[in-house]
């Protein structure tokens, strides 16, 4: 898992390696400095030898300068490496997501992919930076400090050997105690977020049912459990600092007592035994060792927190698109004819019920096809197979006489334009949005397509016309306007097949018919497939397919179906109750 992640380091490998190297140098210097300080006190100040003080002082300053330089370099490298690593990781994830098929996206859900690309990456970046800087530093400091203190006085240093395991055990106990609580807290946090999100989305429902107080209670419950769990975890973590102090002070007391005795015994002569300066150094080392242990425990927490994030990131990186180009993909789509040859389909391999069952259909190039059927009759699933948004589970779908799986995916999709049921506009001007269909489209082409989609009129009513800025999600245009813009965007592709998946539901009937009329007159060679709820939207089609429960119930013209098909007739009658239409 870690290896998969580290593959994203790439050009920042140099910095990733340099940072700990600098850190190691820095920690060596930081250990040498207290020793020099001891020399300074013992042999300089205590002996009243100013030349020695100057000499050691100078060496000390040189060491400090080096330590400063290595410290700065380490900080720099760590910053570069971690920001770069995060950048590459984000890049790799985003690019892999771009390769995802619809079923890959369905598997993760958009919300989850977004969290993985944002919060999780930030977590990992922070952990990575900390690792690069401190994961090497802390053990190094402990090792060097131990070596140096043993050199000064092996007997006194045994104190450390006693204290370190005690502190280590204490830290470990706290951490292992706190970890499950933290895991729980983060899960509760997700819950809190989802309550707020649902509340924001459904605020009209909340207010119309007077459920403000109910929602507040719901929120407070979760808020309270976060408070309780977080407090519990942090209260335990609160033992860290006092425990560290306890060990520190304890070691210092022991050092003072035994150290004093040792100094008296040696007559404060470093050559014989312990000196006052060396005692000061030992105390400095105590601090360094215990602080480093503390650091290690913090790193440990960081790793625990980021572990979940790492797993989630790797999941996305490991996900392989289940739609792949053939070895020698065909790039040329001959015409807009479509054939379904005994096609069955299920969204997941494990599903026990097929969404589409043994579909056989033949559609000529240039035909207008209407598809009607009840909620859940798999109309959308049927058309999504044509542009290979999903692969058929069995059987084959052919476009222009060739199995869709033999095409280059991009070439196929460029010729099969789909206006999805959940149509989305992106933040940017209307022009920019339309150019999704064709990046090189001229202004005239944009206007032409908008005219066909009956969008030109309302666009011209906006003060900024085609330069009108569309808010994220297209919230500043009405549903019907959004649908027409989406149709114009699809038209700009000049596809051989155009699929409208219930794309005019918010458009009034009059405009709806104008759109169809424009299609008939202006793009006669394009195969047009229209899924609709309104019979009126499809009744002039060359063929109407009636879907029912994943099967084709009937295919025929409006007149034929009215006579022969019960479902169709029922739908038609439900929409034309009152019989006034017959008079017209």
């Amino acid at each position: 898992m870690i290896r998969k992640l580290l593959a994203s380091v790439r050009e920042y490998k140099k910095d990733m390696i340099l940072a700990p190297v600098y850190v190691t140098l820095e920690s060596v210097l930081e250990i040498i400095i207290p020793t020099l300080m001891a020399f300074l006190i013992d042999n300089g100040i205590n002996q009243k030898d100013m030349t020695y003080v100057w000499k050691i002082g100078l060496i000390l300053v040189v060491c400090a300068v080096f330590s400063l330089i290595t410290g700065v370099l380490a900080g720099r490298s760590a910053a570069i490496a971690s920001a770069g690593f995060a950048k590459n990781l984000r890049h790799d994830m985003f690019y892999n997501v771009q390769k995802f098929s619809f079923s890959n996206i369905d598997k993760f859900s958009s919300a989850s992919i977004i969290t993985r690309l944002t919060t999780d990456i930030t977590n990992v970046q922070n952990a990575f930076q900390m690792m690069v800087r401190l994961a090497v530093r802390a053990p190094m400091m402990i090792i060097f400090a131990l070596i140096f203190s043993f050199r000064i006085d092996a007997k006194l240093s045994l104190i450390f050997l006693g204290v370190i395991p005690v502190l280590g055990l204490g830290l470990w106990l706290i951490m292992s105690n706190v970890h499950p609580i933290f895991v729980r807290v983060f899960r509760t946090y997700d819950k809190l977020n989802s309550v707020v999100q649902e509340n924001l989305r459904g605020i009209r429902v909340v207010k119309s049912y007077n459920r403000e107080a109910f929602e507040v209670e719901k929120f407070k419950d979760i808020s309270k459990s976060i408070f309780e769990d977080f407090s519990k975890a942090e209260k335990r973590l609160a033992f860290n600092m006092p425990m560290l102090q306890f060990c520190l002070y304890g070691s210092m007391l022991m050092l003072s007592w035994f150290g004093a005795k040792a100094i008296v015994a040696s007559g404060n002569n470093a050559a014989i035994g312990l000196s006052t300066g060396e005692l000061a150094s030992l105390i400095t080392y105590t601090m360094q060792i215990l602080m480093s242990l503390m650091m290690l425990s913090m790193i440990f927490v960081m790793i625990i927190i980021s572990r979940a994030s790492v797993e989630r990131i790797v999941e996305v990186l490991d996900e392989e698109s289940d739609l792949k180009n053939n070895d020698a993909p065909i790039r040329d789509v001959k015409d807009g004819s479509i054939v379904f040859d005994d096609v069955s389909f299920a969204y997941t391999a494990s599903a026990d019920k097929m969404v589409l069952n043994h579909i056989d259909l033949t559609i000529q190039s240039g035909e207008t096809i209407g598809i009607v059927g009840g909620t859940g009759s798999a109309k959308s699933s049927l058309v999504q197979l044509i542009s290979r948004l999903y692969d058929a589970t069995s059987g084959s779908v052919k476009v222009g006489g060739v199995d869709v799986r033999d095409y280059d995916i991009e070439s196929l999709r460029n010729q099969v334009a789909v206006v999805l049921q959940k149509n989305i506009l992106f933040s940017g001007s209307i022009k920019q949005n339309l150019r999704w269909g064709n990046e090189k489209a001229t202004d005239e082409e944009l206007i032409k397509a908008s005219q066909l989609a009956q969008a030109d009129d309302f666009i011209r009513e906006f003060p900024d016309q085609y330069d009108t800025y569309i808010e994220q999600g297209g919230t500043n245009v009405s549903g019907g306007q959004r649908q027409r813009l989406c149709i114009a965007r699809a038209l700009l592709k000049q596809p051989k097949i155009l699929i409208l998946d219930d794309s005019t539901s918010a458009v009034d009937t009059k405009t709806d018919s104008l759109i169809r009329q424009a299609f008939r007159e202006n793009i006669p060679d394009t195969t047009k497939i229209i899924i609709a709820q309104r019979i009126a939207s499809v009744q002039d089609a060359d063929k109407i397919i009636v879907m029912n429960d994943g099967k084709v119930d009937a295919v025929g013209t409006h007149e034929m179906l009215l006579v022969n098909n019960a479902i169709y007739r029922e739908v038609f009658e439900s929409q034309n109750r009152g019989g006034v239409g017959d008079e017209a």
Binding site: I41, A79, Q129, F227, I409, S513, S574
Partner: protein
């Protein structure tokens, strides 16, 4: 929502790192209930810092007063040393206890304060008018609960005590230094001033890059959100490469600012620490020279000569003085960011809440010999209760009559979208609104339940001006089913019960049957107890609409608003639902908005709206006979032949 074209989002956002003056004071007001604990924490931090200062001072005492005199003695007596070690041990113990105490207390204060802020914020948000939600993106509102509270949490529970403790340590160390030698202490102070200048530059640099980093992070995350949410459209248009290219540009910008921000953040500590070492050397040289020369030393205890122990202690103190300065500077950015977050939260809390001056309430009544009496128990008979200023109370039975008198309305003051709307709906009538998108159909329903208040004219409910009715009671008397269905995480049953919290399971199931939702609900894995997640994402749009109809049915209000309630249900299913809908609508005043004219044909009166005006009204047959706008709309269906 359609009326989101507001000026709000266009307004330049305040830079992320700025916070309003008064934020700290206001933040404190949330901690006020912990006032005494805060004082104790303050004292404990003081004690803890003193203990650590004492530990540096002890080294001098140890060397000067105990070790040096014992040196050269043939039979050193350690009893006095033992006493000294014991007494400093006691000091340490007090210090450790103080540390433990304030750390634990701070957890309660920090988490308690956060909980309070979170709860108040949500409570306040619930009270905000719909306009606020329509004019702010959900992402913006969400970030108060995520980013802003998160930085605040870190600042309160970590940065604040650390900064305080560091500050005390610095002060304690400085006082101790003065105690040892005034001259040397002043020199250290001078050095500290220089150091602070250096830190200021570093923190300033890092701060401005932090702001940049936050901005580019927001930019990139926004882009990611938009693209991933529209990923299916991206794929349909083969837009992957372009999306990735734009992504790379933003990603690169973030990487640059993040590198710079962290760089300056990372190098602060090594610079401060190592400058501290240099200070150490300088003091050693000056102090050493002074000590050797026997220069008189001014200390707080009087004039004496510099002893070796003094210098050694002083050196240790100088480390205790410099290091916390570095730590404070490290926390500084964190605290500023948290305060900026806090001030954004307070901004939300300052938003004016929904005004409600209503005094007419809805009460349960019992009718006894033609006279209405208010009663406590549920009678399912309701009446409006108007208390008059003279103390008398008038009860009007709840019937469900709605009247509009010359109503004008605009979402923005100078842009009127509804003109002169007058209409009445008698109890039990079905009123339909038809018209093109943007004609103002939804707006009318927004006014009935006072999501928005009218600019001119008046609206009456059972003869009472709706401005006089308490909002909660007004809304309780209205049921609403919207085109955009919103379900909540919970079981199907919970979601239906949302309409009436005290409804029994049977009543909920009955309502589901009425809406024709019972069939598919029973097909779900756990039936009515199936847990819906993510806004009921496992269900089809039509199924979700059926649940929301059931939710309204269980509420059982005398007036219902159906805003495109059946738009996602195919007409065949709608025909089946229709029976349920008819049952649901029976005996109620209903406002129906629909695109599909078939849905509104049987309405008692149909209003045709155009550009915010009612251009035609009448029942289906009348309107058809009129051969006006409705006729055109209706026959538009057949125009193709």
């Amino acid at each position: 929502m359609k009326h989101n074209t507001d000026n709000h989002k266009a307004a330049p956002k305040r830079p992320k790192h700025r916070f309003k003056p008064g934020t700290i004071k206001r933040l404190y007001s949330y901690m006020a209930e912990y006032k005494y604990r805060l004082i104790v924490v303050f004292l404990c931090i003081l004690i803890s810092a003193s203990a650590s200062a004492a530990s540096s001072l002890f080294l001098r005492t140890l060397i000067d007063d105990y070790i040096t005199p014992l040196l050269g003695q043939a039979n050193p007596v350690y009893a006095s040393l033992a006493r000294a070690v014991m007494s400093i041990g006691a000091v340490y113990l007090i210090g450790v206890s103080a540390t433990l105490f304030y750390n634990r207390t701070m957890v309660i204060i920090g988490q308690g304060t956060l909980k309070k802020i979170r709860d108040r914020m949500f409570e306040h948000m619930q009270a905000l008018p719909i306009r606020h939600f329509d004019t702010h993106t959900h992402g913006d509102l969400m970030s108060h609960y995520t980013n802003d509270t998160d930085t605040l949490r870190q600042a309160i529970s970590q940065s604040l005590p650390q900064m305080l403790s560091s500050m005390f340590t610095v002060i304690a160390a400085f006082v101790s230094m003065l105690y040892l030698s005034v001259g040397l202490a002043l020199f250290v102070a001078l050095f500290a001033v220089v150091l602070l200048k250096v830190i200021r530059v570093l923190v300033g640099r890092s701060g401005s890059y932090f702001v940049k980093q936050q901005a580019s992070l927001g930019d990139l995350n926004g882009y990611i959100e938009e693209m991933i949410n529209g990923q299916k459209v991206v794929k349909v248009f083969c837009y992957e490469d372009s999306a990735a290219k734009a992504f790379d540009v933003k990603n690169e910008a973030l990487c640059d600012s993040a590198t710079e921000a962290n760089k300056y953040g990372n190098i602060t500590m090594p610079i401060v620490g190592n400058l501290g070492y240099m200070l150490y050397v300088i003091i050693a040289i000056i102090g050493g020279a002074a000590g050797i020369a026997g220069v008189p030393n001014l200390s707080l205890t009087g004039v004496n000569t510099l002893t070796i122990g003094t210098i050694v202690s002083f050196l240790t103190l100088s480390r205790a003085f410099i290091n916390p300065i570095g730590q404070i500077s490290m926390q500084f950015n964190m605290v500023v960011m948290a305060l900026a977050g806090a001030s954004r939260i307070f901004e939300l809390m300052d938003e004016p809440v929904e005004q409600d001056n209503g005094h007419v309430t809805l009460v349960n009544v019992r009718e006894e010999s033609g006279v209405i009496h208010e009663c406590e128990e549920k009678t399912d008979i309701w009446a409006w209760k108007h208390p008059h200023s003279d103390g008398t109370v008038l009860y009007t039975p709840l019937k469900g009559e709605i009247r509009f008198f010359d109503v004008d309305f605009g979402y923005e003051a100078n842009k009127i979208v509804l003109h002169n709307i007058s209409l009445y709906a008698k109890p039990g009538q079905k009123v339909a609104f038809v018209g093109a998108t943007g004609a103002g159909k939804t707006t009318i329903t927004n006014l009935i339940n006072r999501f928005y208040d009218i600019a001119d004219g008046k609206i009456q409910y059972d003869g009472v001006n709706i401005n006089k009715i308490k909002k909660a009671d007004l809304r309780r008397s209205l049921g609403i089913v919207l085109q955009d269905v919103n379900l909540f995480t919970g079981t199907v049953l919970d979601n239906i019960r949302y309409g009436k919290l005290d409804a029994t399971d049977e009543a909920c199931i009955e309502a589901a049957k009425l809406a024709n939702a019972d069939g598919f609900i029973r097909m779900l894995p756990q039936g009515y107890h199936t847990v819906l997640k993510g806004d009921g994402s496992g269900l089809s749009q039509g199924q979700r609409q059926l649940i929301s109809i059931a939710r309204a049915a269980v509420a059982d209000p005398p007036v219902m608003i159906l805003d495109e309630a059946t738009s996602s249900i195919d007409t065949r299913t709608e025909a089946i639902v229709q029976a349920g809908m008819d049952a649901l609508m029976k005996g109620r005043t209903v406002f129906v908005i629909a695109h599909r004219l078939s849905t509104v044909q049987n309405a008692d009166v149909i209003m045709v709206l155009e550009h915010g005006r009612i251009v035609e009204r009448g029942n289906h047959d009348q309107l058809i006979a009129e051969k006006g706008r409705y006729y055109q709309l209706y026959t538009g269906v057949f125009e193709l032949e």
